[in-house]
Symmetry: C2
Subunit: 225 residues, 2 copies
């Protein structure tokens, strides 16, 4: 048994939607292995991290300056040979956030941080392509029965904002009549008196997501369209 030669990292697939495009947060590696490749933000589990979730949050903050976001554990990857330095188990996390809320800042062991459209990724370090595609698949499921979409839009949003998130994540158009009807019927949207102003055309009504009303829904609400 080679217990002590196993290393554990915690990496995060952070998604956001920008102008209708689903994007992933990547950092550019400054050191070997995979020097100058783009990779998921993450790093070694530290014995001081109280939990894996906190380790993921810590690494994400250190490497990209993104903090205080929705994070959930995704899957663990541990095939022999996925890291040339030796046996490495990576616990992957999923994060959902709004780009506008953060100013990206690379850590000293990276030469860059950037958002990349999930459909136009550069070559990635390790098996990070596989990790991203697993995360994307999971997000598609999540968005259909959880309030995950609301982590990707501002607190006050229009129905269009919400629909754009669904279309970006699912990768297909949805019927907007049915979309609105269905979402308004769920009762998880709180209509505001305000309207969005930034447009040169008809202003749209703003809504809030109501967490409490969401909790009142049946076990597995379905937001599919």
């Amino acid at each position: 048994m080679s217990i002590d030669s196993v290393r554990v990292t915690v990496d995060t697939v952070a998604f956001s939607v920008q102008q209708g495009v689903l994007e992933v947060l990547l950092v550019k590696r400054k050191f070997e292995p995979f020097k100058s490749y783009w990779a998921l933000p993450g790093g070694f589990l530290d014995d001081k991290d109280p939990t894996l979730d906190e380790a993921a949050a810590r690494e994400l903050l250190e490497e990209t300056n993104v903090g205080n976001v929705y994070l959930e554990q995704l899957y663990s990857f541990g095939d022999k040979g996925r890291d040339p330095r030796g046996r490495t188990v990576t616990i992957a996390y999923l994060a959902l956030l709004r780009q506008e809320e953060f100013e990206l800042k690379a850590s000293s062991d990276a030469s860059g941080v950037a958002w990349w459209p999930v459909n136009e990724l550069p070559p990635l370090a390790f098996d990070h392509h596989e990790v991203v595609s697993y995360a994307h698949k999971r997000l598609k499921y999540k968005i259909e029965y959880s309030p995950a979409a609301f982590s990707l839009i501002p607190g006050k949003f229009t129905l269009r904002d919400l629909q754009l998130v669904y279309e970006a994540v699912l990768g297909r158009a949805v019927d907007n009549r049915n979309f609105r009807k269905k979402f308004l019927n769920t009762g998880v949207l709180q209509e505001l008196a305000e309207t969005s102003q930034e447009t040169s055309f008809r202003p749209a009504r703003l809504y809030l997501f109501s967490e409490v009303d969401f909790e009142r829904l049946p076990d597995r609400p379905v937001f599919v369209f």
Copy 2:
């Protein structure tokens, strides 16, 4: 950073249904920590294991003599303090099987192996209660949109067998008229000419699960009742 002090184990929550009762496979620990407590079968990731899945299968076979079963990764647990020996990350697996197909055999570092009803578990080592309850929750979901239930019954089965599995896993009765109707309509059951004989009352028709027909179903078929 304390990279080398992190240990990785792979533990399995193996479920089966026996006479309408959902049961979990446990081993009795022979050594400290938690000596003589019951625990999930599992052990340290070995550098020779090509994948985590294979590590889980290997440990399950070594510790209980159960092999060649449906296995899927569940979740990773890594809170500080969950193992008194030091930082330990456990990658938990879910297994589904039929008790009749295996003869349990404890490994030399265990003093027993047994099936325990999930609702009457003894005190467990480490945070294994949490792991089991996570696995149970996941199984409830899985059974509703995947053919997981068929891993818990023999190849040839009656609709009653199938219904008992759903009731055991979900922990509630289901309407048997609707259950039959719905399942027969999915088209994933192949009716056989044979009937089950072991009863002292009316024999029931036997069915086979058709994997190919299952693949033809929509993305997320729903077997909920």
